[in-house]
C-alpha cells in the first residue's frame, strides 16, 4: 500500500513538472532536435543559440543576413518598469486603505470593501473596451503612465484586501499603548504598525508583481511598439508566424517565467492567502 502511494505521488509530481522540464530542455535544443520524433529527453546536443536568437534576430537573407537586436529586450524592460511602478503604487495605496479599513469605523465600510472587491471580479475584456476609448481620448494609450495606472487599479482590490487581513492580525492594543505614550495616530501607524507588517507587505507586493508581470489582455490592447510588454511580444511571435521555432519560444518563455517561479518559491507560505484574496489565512 505504502509503495503504491509513493509511486502515485511520484507520478503526479512528474506530470506536474514535465511541461516545465520540457520547456527547459526545448530551449537548449537545435531546430532539428526540437522536431525529432521520438522526442529527445536527455540525449540531445546542448545549444545556447535559442537564447541568442531571443535577443538578436536575423535581418535580411543570404549574404546580407546580419544580427540585429530583437524587440525582446525592450519588452523585458517595459515589463519591468510597468510591473515595479504599478506594484509600488498598488501596495502603498493598499497598505494605507487596508489600515484604515482595519482600524476605523467608516460609514458603509462593508459596502465599500465589497465595491473594491467587485472591481476585481469584472472580466478584463469588459473593462478594456471603455478604457481603450478613454485612453485614446486622454492620450494615455501606449504610454507607461497609462499602463502603470491600469495595473495599479488591476491590483488595488487585491492589495487592499490582503493588507486589511494582515493589519487585522495586529492587536489594536499596540497602537493604543503608543498613543497613551504621546504618539499621534499617524506616528503610531508609521512607527509601530508598519514595521509589524513588513512581511505582509512583501508578500502582497510579490503577488501584485506576478499578476502585473503575467497580464496579457490590457497589454495586448493598450500598448503598441514602445510600451509593449513581454506577454504580447511572445504571443505575437507565435500567433503571427508560420513554422514557429519552438526552441526560441521556449527560451523566451523560460526567461520570462523564471522570476515568477523564484518569487513563487519565496512566498510559498502565503500562497493560500494570496490566491484567496486574504480571506483564508494559511
Amino acid at each position: 500500500m505504502k509503495i503504491f502511494l509513493t509511486i502515485l505521488i511520484i507520478l503526479i509530481v512528474a506530470i506536474y513538472i514535465f511541461p516545465l522540464f520540457w520547456m527547459v530542455s526545448s530551449s537548449f535544443k537545435t531546430r532539428v532536435e526540437i522536431f525529432s520524433m521520438p522526442p529527445k529527453f536527455f540525449n540531445f546536443e546542448v545549444t545556447f543559440k535559442n537564447f541568442r536568437r531571443v535577443f538578436y534576430k536575423i535581418a535580411g537573407w543570404g549574404k546580407f543576413a546580419k544580427e540585429v537586436p530583437s524587440e525582446f529586450p525592450r519588452a523585458l524592460l517595459n515589463s519591468s518598469i510597468i510591473t515595479i511602478l504599478s506594484t509600488l503604487l498598488a501596495v502603498t495605496l493598499g497598505t494605507l486603505s487596508g489600515y484604515a479599513f482595519s482600524r476605523f469605523e467608516i460609514p458603509g465600510k462593508s459596502d465599500l470593501l465589497f465595491f473594491i472587491l467587485s472591481t476585481r471580479m469584472l472580466p478584463a475584456m469588459v473593462i478594456v473596451v471603455p478604457v481603450f476609448i478613454m485612453y485614446k481620448t486622454l492620450g494615455l494609450f501606449n504610454t507607461y503612465l497609462g499602463m502603470v495606472i491600469l495595473y495599479t487599479v488591476f491590483n488595488l482590490s487585491f492589495s487592499v484586501w490582503m493588507m486589511k487581513g494582515f493589519m487585522d492580525e495586529i492587536p489594536k492594543e499596540y497602537e493604543e499603548a503608543a498613543m497613551c505614550d504621546g504618539y499621534t495616530r499617524f506616528q503610531a501607524f508609521r512607527k509601530i504598525i508598519l514595521p509589524q507588517t513588513y512581511a505582509g507587505i512583501a508578500a502582497t507586493a510579490v503577488f501584485c508583481g506576478i499578476m502585473a508581470w503575467n497580464e496579457y489582455v490590457f497589454a495586448l490592447i493598450l500598448t503598441s511598439e514602445e510600451t509593449k510588454t513581454v506577454p504580447p511580444t511572445i504571443a505575437g511571435n507565435v500567433l503571427k508566424t508560420t513554422g514557429v521555432n519552438w526552441g526560441e519560444v521556449a527560451a523566451a518563455s523560460l526567461i520570462f517565467l523564471a522570476p515568477v517561479l523564484i518569487f513563487t518559491f519565496l512566498v510559498r507560505k502565503h500562497l493560500l492567502r494570496g490566491v484567496t484574496f486574504g480571506t483564508i489565512k494559511g
Binding site: 509530481v13 522536431f35 521520438p38 465599500l112 473594491i116 481603450f132 503575467n214 496579457y216 513563487t264 494559511g282
Partner: protein, 295 residues
C-alpha cells in the same frame, strides 16, 4: 508636521480616498461611458459620431445564434474543467496530506503552474499538443493510442483546452483542499478509530463536512475565473478550430477589436457584466458569511 493635527476621521479619509478615486476613474467612469455607447452604433475606427439606436444592440445579441454558441462553449468548458479540477484536486490533496521527505519543495513545484502567465502556458502547450511532433502524442503512442490532432479537430480542441486548464488550475484546488484537511482536528480521527470506523466512513462523516465550506470557496473562485477566461484559450487555440473553443471573452474581443463594432461590443460587455454581477453576488455573500464565522 501637518499630519499631527489630523483626527482619526481625517486619517481614515486620507488613507481611503486615493483608492476610491482611482477605482472610480478607471473602472466606474468608463463603465458609465460604455453604458451610453451600448445604445449607439459607435465604432472607434469610424469617423461618425455615435447615433442613438435604442436597445437594438442588446436585441441583436440576444437573438444571435452565433453568440449563443459562445455561451454554450463557455458553459461546456467551465463545467468540464471545474468538475475535473475539483475531484482531482481533492484526491491529490488527500494523497499529499501526509509527511514525506521533500514534501515542501515538491508541493511548491506542483502548485507553481497557477502562478504562471496563462498566455505563455497556452502558447507553449501548442508545442506539447502538436499532432506530429508533440510530446503528448508520443506518450499516448507508447500505450498504443493513435495520433490525435488535439488542436485541429473541433471535439478534441475543447478537451485540449480542458486538459491544459486542468494542469494549470488543479493546484488551486489542491491548495484549498490541503488547507481544509490540515485544519481537521486529529482527535476526531482517533475517536473514530476507537469505534473501528472504516476509512470511507471517516472521510464521509468527519473530513467532508469539515472541509466542505472551504471547498465551496475554491469552487466559486474557480468558476468566476473560468467564466471570464481569455488568455489561456487565446494562446492555445485562439478560439479555433472554427469556433470550437471560442468562449464569450474571445467573442467579445473579436467583436470589439477585430470587427470594431464598439457599440455592440459595449452592449455585449454589459450582458456579460450582469451575469458576472449575479454570480459574484452569490460569491460575495458567501465570503461575507465565512469571514463573520472566522472572526
Amino acid at each position: 508636521m501637518k499630519t499631527k493635527m489630523l483626527s482619526d476621521r481625517g486619517i481614515a479619509l486620507l488613507f481611503i480616498l486615493p483608492t476610491i478615486l482611482i477605482l472610480v476613474f478607471i473602472v466606474v467612469y468608463p463603465l458609465i461611458w460604455s453604458l451610453f455607447l451600448s445604445f449607439t452604433d459607435y465604432s472607434v475606427v469610424g469617423t461618425e459620431k455615435p447615433h442613438f439606436i435604442g436597445i437594438k444592440n442588446f436585441a441583436n445579441i440576444l437573438k444571435d445564434e452565433y453568440i449563443w454558441l459562445h455561451f454554450q462553449n463557455t458553459a461546456k468548458y467551465v463545467i468540464m474543467a471545474i468538475a475535473i479540477q475539483f475531484f482531482l484536486g481533492l484526491g491529490i490533496a488527500l494523497l499529499l496530506n501526509r509527511e514525506f521527505a521533500g514534501r515542501g519543495i515538491l508541493l511548491t513545484l506542483v502548485l507553481s503552474p497557477m502562478m504562471l502567465s496563462p498566455i505563455v502556458v497556452g502558447l507553449f502547450w501548442r508545442y506539447i499538443l502538436d499532432a506530429n511532433w508533440g510530446v503528448l502524442n508520443y506518450f499516448t503512442s507508447l500505450i498504443g493510442l493513435p495520433k490525435i490532432a488535439w488542436l485541429g479537430e473541433k471535439e478534441m480542441a475543447m478537451y485540449a483546452l480542458v486538459i491544459v486548464d486542468t494542469w494549470m488550475w488543479t493546484p488551486f484546488m489542491i491548495l484549498i483542499s490541503l488547507a481544509g484537511l490540515s485544519a481537521v482536528p486529529k482527535e476526531l480521527y482517533e475517536a473514530a478509530e476507537v469505534d473501528r470506523a472504516s476509512t470511507w466512513f471517516k472521510f464521509r462523516h468527519i473530513t467532508l463536512p469539515l472541509i466542505a465550506p472551504l471547498l465551496l470557496v475554491g469552487l466559486l473562485f474557480r468558476t468566476m475565473d473560468a467564466f471570464r477566461m481569455f488568455d489561456l484559450a487565446w494562446g492555445l487555440t485562439q478560439g479555433g478550430p472554427g469556433t470550437a473553443t471560442s468562449t464569450i471573452s474571445i467573442a467579445l474581443y473579436r467583436m470589439a477589436f477585430q470587427n470594431f463594432e464598439t457599440g455592440k461590443a459595449c452592449a455585449f460587455a454589459y450582458i456579460i457584466l450582469i451575469l458576472i454581477i449575479g454570480m459574484s453576488n452569490i460569491y460575495i455573500r458567501f465570503l461575507n458569511r465565512l469571514q463573520k464565522r472566522g472572526g
